[in-house]
Symmetry: C2
Subunit: 231 residues, 2 copies
DNA sequence: CTTGATCTATTTGTCAACGATAAGTAAGAC
DNA sequence: GTCTTACTTATCGTTGACAAATAGATCAAG
């Protein structure tokens, strides 16, 4: 299990560990359903259980992990309903972010977005899937930063992480290759300060991602026996 | 075997305690800046520090509480910038919620909203400030429930709590009396399934609230936690 | 071979004690 | 009178031990 990276990390803060775990989820090194034993996390981050347990509570609050009483923490495994809710919420939040970003974006940020697109295309070209995924998420988070609203940025951070999780669970590989083209269209609309165009581009981009997913409820979902035989 | 109050309290779940603290914040029984000592909370809810510390992490994650290392937990005291960010985020989220609700609302939910408005007007009429505040927040949460998206509902829950906090910190009392009229206009637009009208009504409502605020930074206060939660 | 029960071991959840930090208080110097 | 400094106290943060619960293994029976 790819929890460990190669640094000596004596005193990582809570935030730093949360970020690392979220990154691992977003890059799909940690997949939906993976168990996160406290002891393994303690080993991975060289810290004690108190800190890890606190971090797991934070991750659960963000919907990235799910806690089962007396069984421990697992990377969340959203069913079809939850997946659609996350995408719907993300469309809602990102639409607002784009509309605000159109008014506030400046040249430096725009160039940052374009650099991200180039890096994403390069990663895609050399088949570096995990980098490609990471950069794709980073594009949206950069855009959120443009708005300068920490609350919206926090919401989007949660949504991007959960979306990555869903893509990893239900995604087909082909869809990803379109991201850079659509990001480019978005950046162009932002440069023109075309609010309607940018909002539509975002909407289309997110619906496109969702539509390429094959969302079904996995085999290990617990079935409601009672409802099956209630008739 | 009759459960005593203490026994009943000792079995409160994390969520229940979180909800009670959030309610206390929303009803402004707990004001911005109030210190929340662990021992006082342990007394109030008859539980131990382990549980309370876990709950404080959740509340901090929701922005309702701020943790200062080695000093403890305080009800968040958002400055002007943070307050503006919360309102901006709330406008963004609520606009999306209204647009979805226009399409999905049904008669029962609409009647629930109208009942809330009546109850709010009654509370306002008899000068029951804390009920009035609670019902006003409940209106928006009911509306979110209509959409049936747990992610959006969670976001709005956080935003409503933080907004109440800000109103309690910076608010003038006069503004509140307009809420019922504006809620009624919103309900009417929803009934007509008038997407544009409902969105505009929500936007106006939220901007109206924000504009009546007079933002300044106040001092921390100490309060009697046990009496706030005694019931 | 499958089903069911029992036992063992691992992991989580809780608790109480200890150490660390910061706020509050009192004493002394200017 | 006030400012500084040292001390005291209260609260937070961490640790380690213990209790509780679950999952897995072993074994017996149909």
């Amino acid at each position: 299990m790819a929890l460990t990276t190669d640094q000596a990390r004596s005193s990582l803060t809570d935030d730093a560990i949360v970020e690392r775990i979220v990154n691992a989820v977003m890059e799909q090194r940690l997949r939906a359903g993976a168990k996160l034993p406290e002891s393994a996390l303690c080993d991975a981050f060289q810290c004690n259980r108190t800190q890890i347990r606190r971090i797991l509570v934070v991750l659960a609050e963000r919907g990235v992990v799910t806690l089962h009483a007396n069984r421990g923490a697992f990377v969340s495994s959203p069913d079809a309903t939850a997946a659609h809710e996350v995408f719907e919420a993300r469309r809602a939040v990102e639409r607002s972010i784009v509309l605000l970003a159109v008014e506030r974006i400046e040249e430096g940020a725009l160039e940052g977005l374009r650099a991200n697109i180039r890096a994403g295309a390069a990663a895609e070209a050399r088949g570096d899937r995990s980098q490609s995924i990471r950069l794709s998420g980073e594009f949206h988070l950069r855009l959120a930063e443009v708005v300068g609203n920490s609350v919206l940025t926090k919401f989007l951070g949660e949504l991007v992480a959960r979306t990555s999780l869903i893509i990893g669970l239900h995604g087909s590989h082909g869809a990803r290759s379109c991201a850079e083209a659509e990001h480019k269209g978005l950046a162009d609309a932002l440069e023109r300060r075309d609010a309607h165009g940018a909002a539509e581009a975002m909407e289309h981009h997110l619906r496109h991602i969702e539509n390429t997913l094959d969302i079904y409820d996995g085999p290990e979902q617990s079935v409601d026996i009672v409802s099956i035989f209630a008739r």
